[in-house]
């Protein structure tokens, strides 16, 4: 077997040609014969009882297909963790934009007017919109106490740390909702055949999530539901669970009309009705010794889940586990809960709880530094996890990560010390204030704890007649490089050419369930399985005697082709098995939370313009240890793209709410950075390998989301000597903090303790 390096090189994007020529097929590019267009009638109130629908004048209702909850053959729910979210509201609504009815018509231009012409009589019920209101429990809108889920993570003996603490530092941090803002809106096409069953094509991350949801909704067996992923124009988690809803809607219309139905949201509908990042509130209370070491602490982490449970427990889990960051906590108590409000359910968005809790932690570290009298560098250095230490869940760090070293390298790359000194000297006279800030963090790849075991992902590699290999996974490509990297892995594993490997379009009739494309797991977990399955192909060929031990790519292809022509197509399958030594207790939430952590230090340099109070980022260093760089161009692209979203999270992307409804649902008013707003983002990697990941890779998709916001806000505090504990931080907020005494923006860190 020849050793041609493919992994670690920037091979051409597998599906790239179609993307640069305009031939790639996204769901809205497809048209089926006889196809109708669908639209959704949605609730205009946040909570209430639905009394009556009135179909107004000016619309030829005979021409429309109308679907309500009554048309649902199976269970009226979007099956996920729990079945509490209805597919169509049935008598009760719990959030603005909740789907009530579905309409379809051959002429898509007639739908907006028809949707407007449906009026609904409600009996409004009192609604709640904030974490605090939900916790107050004056109105119970979900379950017994508005709480979707709670976790308690405990380590050591927290109650004993306070009396010996030299300092106790307390503060509260909040983060707002954030819209994923994939440039391709959500869309689905569904077709229903009485014998074949249901087929949906769409923009999505997780074909099998939709498959499961449709089975339940229609009471159909697995073989009579088929989900196919089209080219997907960005997802970032926003197409993890949400597409099940739009798929369900298109399917109901297709089933009722007997015709294929396409539903494509426009931007305003997509922003208002679909999931966003969970707003959060984190309260820290930390006991610190006078040399800056953390003795222990309590963290109260609460997220707003919106009106239904959806994925909130999992977001909560990840946020809670990451709440302690890359530091050693001898003792800790983390109380985490996800609560209900009358807003459209919040959902998956890159980072999935970790950006929220890590924002709080990394801001808090700077505050601890101030109280103790150390620099932001020193406070981190003295508290970093080291090999042999245990994390907040008691997971032992058993790789040779040297965070102090990583920090030093980031400091050097960013000229941190020189700049910090210059800025503090020059700021006094300067019209614009400059600052520099650090964030150090980690991100666990793969499903938490026993999650991968429960998933039991299955992959296949198939030998094709022409002697090439085809990868069969339900893992989807949406820009992050799934197709390319999995093909690289197979090619490298077997010593083939990259051109000799392809990957099947994710179609639940064709590919096994390799798990959802989330949680930074695809390259690491699915990649390793694919590598395994590929080896299985070689073993079969070798056993047949058709392949010698030392073969060239051409010889492999010839042997493989010959085998298939003689014996027929064959495939090698691999299934996930939890490695020995990974132990997780779901009850106590203790043990090895993740197979691998990636580690990072980000440094942001900012200028605050005191004429406009706006923050410009002048330089950004993103340094991370990620196991192995499988594709240099793609890896760099993932980091830069994630940092850009993190910058948006910190400084630009504010969701304006009114009574649970997003008011600024247009690109004009929901502000994401343009090319003119971002600095050059300098990306650097380190590679320690990872025994649990393909070719030593760790997941990197979500990591870059965690660091930018705290690094930037730390830099702003460095520039202005004003503490900001809430994001997004807009110029108006900076102005208010500097000049308006009316409302304190934040709860400043309080410190108590011995003198």
């Amino acid at each position: 077997m020849k050793n041609i390096p493919i992994v670690g090189t920037s091979v051409p994007r597998m599906e790239g040609r179609g993307k640069v020529t305009g031939h790639a097929r996204y769901v809205d590019d497809m048209v089926l014969p006889g196809m109708l267009y669908g639209a959704t009638v949605r609730s205009r109130i946040p909570r209430g009882i639905v009394k009556k629908f009135l179909f107004g004048p000016g619309v030829n209702w005979n021409e429309f297909v109308v679907v309500s909850a009554k048309d649902i053959p199976g269970k009226n729910c979007i099956a996920l963790i729990e079945d509490d979210q209805p597919c169509l509201a049935d008598g009760v609504v719990n959030h603005p934009e909740e789907p009530l009815l579905l309409l379809a018509h051959p002429d898509r231009h007639l739908l907006p007017k028809a949707v407007d012409a449906v009026s609904v009589e409600y009996e409004p019920l009192p609604a709640i919109f904030s974490l605090e209101e939900s916790e107050a429990r004056q109105q119970i809108i979900w379950g017994a106490d508005n709480t979707f889920k709670s976790y308690l993570i405990e380590k050591g003996d927290v109650d004993s740390v306070w009396q010996n603490a030299d300092h106790i530092v307390e503060a509260e941090y909040t983060t707002g909702a954030q819209e994923q803002l994939y440039i391709e809106n959500n869309g689905m096409i569904a077709a229903f055949d009485p014998e074949q069953g249901l087929t949906v094509w769409g923009s999505l991350q997780c074909p099998y999530y939709i498959h499961k949801a449709l089975m339940k909704l229609f009471a159909l067996s697995a073989d009579r539901v088929r989900v196919v992923q089209m080219e997907t124009g960005g997802a970032f988690g926003g197409k993890e669970e949400y597409p099940s809803i739009i798929a369900a809607h298109a399917s109901l219309l297709a089933a009722k009309s007997g015709k294929p139905v396409k539903i494509i949201y426009d931007r305003m509908e997509d922003m208002a009705a679909t999931t966003k990042r969970h707003p959060s509130r984190t309260r820290h209370r930390t006991a610190v010794a006078k040399d800056g070491r953390i003795l222990g602490g309590e963290i109260d982490f609460t997220i707003d889940g919106g009106a239904y449970k959806t994925l909130s427990p999992v977001v909560l889990s990840r946020g809670a586990i990451h709440a302690g960051g890359p530091y050693y906590w001898p003792s800790i108590r983390i109380r985490a809960k996800a609560v209900a409000t009358n807003a459209p359910p919040h959902g998956a968005f890159r980072g999935f709880g970790a950006p929220q809790s890590l924002f709080a932690l990394e801001r808090h570290m700077d505050h601890i530094a101030q109280v103790v009298g150390l620099s932001p560098v020193e406070i981190r250095r003295r508290n970093f996890l080291q090999p042999g230490h245990t994390t907040t869940t008691g997971q032992t760090i058993d790789e040779p990560i040297d965070l102090g070293n990583l920090l030093d390298r980031a400091l050097e790359l960013s000229s941190y010390h020189a700049k910090k000194e210059n800025f503090s000297r020059e700021n006094a006279q300067a019209a614009h204030k400059k600052g520099i800030g650090i964030a150090s963090f980690l991100h666990g790849a793969g499903f938490t704890g026993s999650g991968e075991r429960f998933l039991g992902s299955v992959v296949g590699v198939e030998a094709v007649r022409d002697g090439t290999l085809r990868i069969l996974v339900s893992s989807t490509e949406f820009g992050q490089g799934t197709n390319t990297v999995l093909c690289q892995i197979v090619a490298e594993a077997l010593g083939l050419r990259y051109e000799d490997v392809s990957i099947a379009q994710p179609d639940t009739h064709e590919v096994p369930n390799s798990g959802p494309t989330v949680a930074s797991r695809t390259v690491m977990v699915v990649g390793k399985l694919v590598q395994s399955a590929a080896v299985g192909i070689r073993n079969t060929l070798a056993a047949s005697g058709m392949l010698s031990d030392d073969y060239s790519p051409e010889e492999f292809r010839a042997a493989c082709g010959a085998y298939v022509r003689k014996h027929g197509k064959f495939r090698s399958v691999a299934q996930y098995e939890q490695p020995d030594g990974i132990f997780w207790d779901d009850e106590k939430y203790r043990g090895s939370a993740y197979a691998a952590f990636a580690w990072a230090v980000y440094i942001a340099e900012v200028t605050v313009d005191l004429a406009t109070y706006s923050v410009a980022i002048d330089d950004f260093v993103a340094l991370q240890e990620i196991g192995k760089v499988l594709h240099p161009v793609f890896a760099k692209g993932q980091i830069i793209g994630g940092v850009a979203q993190g910058i948006g999270f910190a400084l630009y992307e504010k969701v304006v709410w009114d009574q649970g409804r997003m008011q600024n649902g247009q690109m004009t008013n929901y502000i994401m950075p343009t090319s003119a707003d971002l600095p050059p983002i300098r990306v650097y990697f380190e590679e320690l390998g990872n025994v649990y990941g393909a070719y030593g890779a760790k997941g990197i998709g979500e990591l870059p989301m965690d660091g930018p916001a705290p690094a930037i806000i730390n830099a702003v505090e460095d520039a202005l000597h004003v503490s900001f504990n809430s994001i997004p931080l807009l110029p108006e907020d900076i102005f208010a903090a500097l000049y308006e005494n009316s409302a304190p923006l934040t709860i400043a860190p309080t410190a108590r303790g011995r003198a």
């Binding site: 231009h109 406009t612 109070y613 003119a676 707003d677 208010a736």
Partner: protein, 464 residues
């Protein structure tokens, strides 16, 4: 897309009289649509009440720019790109050009029109404050009549204008009287591009004799209409700028505006930022005035030189001895504006032989050596002007050398172009185009380039 195209009518009569006729025939029934960057957004959102639209896009009568009698008339259907690419606008009305550059991205600049910006009348519109400080006048036209109104009175309320039913804006008129003014503008939006402004300042200041003789400040997004800061202007005019005055102006400006809280920003922020932007402008104006005093000194010194010395001193700016002597004869010249216009007048009236002499004072574009006869200062300025060319790649330089040779063969003199700010490939493109000119046209073009070079050099000469 929330509108049904089947419910809308759009006609394109193709000429202005036919459009006006339609508008007159059915007043209020037809909504004019030019580039569509506002109308189509409303339409797509399902929020356009008008069902009948008449296209005024690219009407030749409306998409033209004319200069005559000390005034520039910008046709209402000129796009932002048209404005940005127009040399006179960039030079004499830079605030209009900068506003055009801030509006949307390139694609929207290629379609959005100045007339549309005016008639749409959003207080956040980017070009309106610039028009206010330049004291624009609008030519309004209907089937029966044409009238001219000061732009200052055109907006009568939130998104309401003086435009009568059946009327269109035909052109925006700007008087060429601002070349001596210091111009400054700043737009504050939620991001650096594609942003609706939260506050937008356009400012002109005219320092003279140690004081601010004239000051014009206009702000967008701080009131239902774009507004002049009349009170702030009043307290600054006629005074010397010092820190106390700046502070007073800042406070007055913040008080003068009437902003609101909306989805984009807060009223207190807008008011405070207005004050800050005015202060920032006044700081810059003070620095500029300081440099201007230097200019006054240069002119004062030059005015007092004997004639032959004065001619010698100013010769490097142009290269023609006749020009230099004529300029010396026009003394005393007291201000930059007068200097530049004297330059133009003299240059315009020179015989061809003197133009050629001026051309000969330049090195070839791309050559590192100057002709031996050029004075040292001229050589050094040539070097600066050709800096971008000097640092370009070898293949471009080769192409330029060949181009120069072709030009000299054809026209029997050096190729002259105002190289400052132009890249080598740009210059090559210009050269290739001009090679196609006939003799008469080419002489005019070269002379115009020389005039521009002279202006740049005169400005440098003044600051030394």
């Amino acid at each position: 897309m929330r509108a049904n195209p089947a419910e809308y009518e759009l006609v394109a009569p193709g000429t202005l009289p036919r459009v006006l006729s339609l508008l007159a025939h059915d007043p209020g029934a037809w909504l004019p649509i030019a580039g569509g960057t506002d109308v189509m957004v409303q339409y797509s959102a399902g929020k356009l009440p008008s069902r009948k639209l008449v296209s005024i896009w690219n009407l030749p009568e409306l998409r033209r720019i004319d200069i005559s009698g000390g005034e520039i008339q910008i046709g209402a259907a000129c796009t932002y790109t048209d404005l940005r690419e127009h040399e006179t606008i960039s030079r004499e009305f830079p605030l209009v050009a900068s506003a055009a550059a801030w509006t949307g991205g390139i694609a929207n600049q290629n379609r959005g029109t100045i007339g549309g910006n005016i008639v749409n009348a959003s207080p956040a519109a980017d070009s309106l404050p610039a028009l206010m400080v330049y004291e624009a006048e609008l030519l309004l036209v209907s089937l029966r009549a044409e009238r001219r109104v000061p732009y200052a009175n055109f907006h009568i309320g939130y998104r309401q204008t003086q435009l009568a039913p059946g009327e269109l804006v035909r052109a925006v008129c700007l008087k060429k009287q601002f070349s001596g003014y210091y111009a400054h503008a700043r737009k504050v939006g939620a991001r650096n591009a594609q942003a609706i402004s939260k506050v937008c300042l356009a400012a002109l200041g005219h320092p003279a004799n140690g004081v601010i003789e004239d000051l014009r400040l206009a702000v967008g997004s701080v009131a239902p209409v774009p507004m002049r800061l009349a009170e702030t202007e009043r307290i600054v005019k006629g005074n010397r700028i010092d820190p106390q005055l700046i502070q007073l102006a800042k406070t007055m400006a913040a008080k003068e505006v009437r902003p609101i809280d909306d989805i984009r920003s807060t009223s207190r922020y807008r008011a405070a930022v207005t004050g800050n932007l005015v202060a920032e402008f006044l700081e810059r104006l003070r620095a500029h005035a300081g440099r201007g005093e230097t200019r006054e000194n240069v002119l004062a010194r030059w005015n007092n030189l004997p004639a032959d010395k004065a001619a010698e001193d100013i010769l490097p700016c142009c290269g023609s001895k006749t020009w230099a002597l004529a300029m010396a004869k026009r003394r005393p010249i007291l201000a930059e504006a007068a200097l530049l216009s004297a330059c133009d007048e003299v240059w315009k009236n020179l015989p061809e032989s003197d133009w050629l002499e001026a051309f000969r004072s330049h090195p070839r574009i791309g050559d590192s050596h100057s002709p031996v006869s050029a004075p040292a200062r001229s050589a050094s300025w040539s070097g600066e002007e050709q800096r971008q060319v000097a640092s370009s790649g070898e293949d471009v330089k080769t192409a330029l050398t060949e181009g120069n040779r072709a030009y000299e063969q054809r026209f029997n003199r050096t190729f002259i172009v105002c190289a400052t700010g132009k890249s080598a490939p740009e210059i090559l493109e210009i050269l290739q185009r001009r090679l196609q000119n006939d003799e008469k046209k080419e002489l005019q073009e070269a002379a115009e380039q020389q005039r521009q070079i002279a202006h740049l050099r005169l400005k440098k000469w003044l600051s030394l």
